[in-house]
Symmetry: C2
Subunit: 343 residues, 2 copies
Amino acid sequence: MQRGATLKDVAKLAGVSVATVSRVINGHANVSAETRASVERAILKLNYSPNTIARSLVTGRTGVISLIIVQEDPIVPTTWFYELPIVQSIYDYLKGQDWELQIAMCSYREFQEPAFLPRHFNKRTVDGVLILSAWMVERHIVSELKERNIPHVIIGAHDPDYESLCIEYDNEGAIRSLVEHLWNSGHQIFGLIGGAPNQLHMHGRIQGFASALEEFGLPTWNRLTKYGDWSIESGYELMQEFLAREPNPTAVVCGNDYIAVGAMRAITEQGLRIPEDIAVVGFDDTVVSQIISPTLTTVRLPLAQAGRLAAERLVRELDKPSPDNRRVVLPCEIVIRDSSKSS
Amino acid sequence: MQRGATLKDVAKLAGVSVATVSRVINGHANVSAETRASVERAILKLNYSPNTIARSLVTGRTGVISLIIVQEDPIVPTTWFYELPIVQSIYDYLKGQDWELQIAMCSYREFQEPAFLPRHFNKRTVDGVLILSAWMVERHIVSELKERNIPHVIIGAHDPDYESLCIEYDNEGAIRSLVEHLWNSGHQIFGLIGGAPNQLHMHGRIQGFASALEEFGLPTWNRLTKYGDWSIESGYELMQEFLAREPNPTAVVCGNDYIAVGAMRAITEQGLRIPEDIAVVGFDDTVVSQIISPTLTTVRLPLAQAGRLAAERLVRELDKPSPDNRRVVLPCEIVIRDSSKSS
DNA sequence: TTGTATGCGTTATCAC
DNA sequence: GTGATAACGCATACAA
């Protein structure tokens, strides 16, 4: 990297001291209009721009926010559709606020290790951190962040005691809407095919499913609630198990769109029709929901909104730490398509 | 951020000078075993770790690499499946080499603006840059990078004069393999439905298509080569145009999987069968290629390999600038599925 | 309103 | 081998 002009160069050219130049740059009040003008002229002439590193050394702030993306282990490529919109919206906001974004990716396992945070923060190269995780953020992690006095916001999850700022989705509400929609079409026997239940998304959906059934006075069938992973294969196999015995469900709520695709495959292979014999709904509104036939009813998560909000709150916290309401739960939108339409 | 122990603290505790501590930390030779041991003890005791910012100020290196993701304007979410595997592999490599990754996203238009690079690099907060773009990286950008002496690697594109290090995919070879595969099944009349032809991916595929037809002694039909955007709708409409007049193609090569999905829809709506009447192939091996029926023959790009290689070369260049062979073209793999199988 | 001087935590260049 | 000490480029307390 070439070395550019420094404060000293500007000071010399403008015929003032470095302190004055510094004041101009940082917009301090006590500078006469004339000197300000001449300094600004010098800055322009030398094409000067402040050295961020030097500034950081003295202020103790870097102007960098870190985003830690916590992933399944091994990594499942189909989760990427979820992460990038969030990254995008975070970046868009940060760009406008003149913060830089640094990213780190790790598995859920790595993130838990005691050595992880030290390794990440010992460099003292970031001011705050956004944690994008689908799992509970353990207590020891939050403590360490507090101890180090590192502002942080959790996206899509929370810590056990709700001490950290966090942005979550209203999974309960979403699944309640789905059940209501299906109930309105006359469905009575509901199945649930979930992904990994240790992920908080799934946790909320399981809760919501149970309470929605109760709300609408519907029975719960234990054998019609199963968990696999988030894959097409998983959905296929678990749906087959549903179909192997009576009673068959008339409506199946799936943990994501891929599970739903697998379930639909199992259903049609049995010669049953969707939605006439069995209705299927998914989660996440991925492209596949529009491509599969029949098109899939699903739930759209407010990803961009979550990312932006998280970035906003972190920046606010960095500007001036304040007691904030800790938790935000964003509403989701259900997208009704053919796989659940009553004739 | 709390302030931790400094060199001075360690020096005092170990009863040596800061210079000696610095030598120990940086693994210099001229330190006696005993002093080294005692310094290391002090470091452990104080839980000391070097301040990266201070170090950067004197060395002039930040240990940070920037990744600029250049996108369509407006952003098309379906391109994300392409970018994240690359980001992932870049990060994985960098993590092992103790480099940090900072990211920036911008539209093709923004990237071209003269103000973009200055704004990005004036902070002097990164040592090198990876450019992930689907478009030609203009001459003025490369010049500016050279002038500022910023090592860089381009992923998925190149500059007009091939002056920069770049990693590309063998689009020509891939499309040649596709044509060969279809030709072996007896196809004679080929159509091409492309995405935006100003993107270099498409450029290479167009070239490859033309030369492959020639190689196999096949005629070129101008009206059977069309470009839209990369969407399902685009594929659908352009395929309808193909089917509106004779001769109909018997094989259609699509610029990506989404275009192919649209094309398939148009074909089946006309009552034609895939692959019996018309074979369809796509590009990118996205999930939809496995979900659509019939499953879609497509091309798998070596994304992870590209990302890793780019990071590797940039790091090497940063360690010691060297005349490197400038361009790497990675082979692609064609994935044959039902949409092109000869009965 | 402006200038001087000090410190931020390192690395590197000298001496010794 | 080791220790002073001068940079690195900036912000700021204090003096003027």
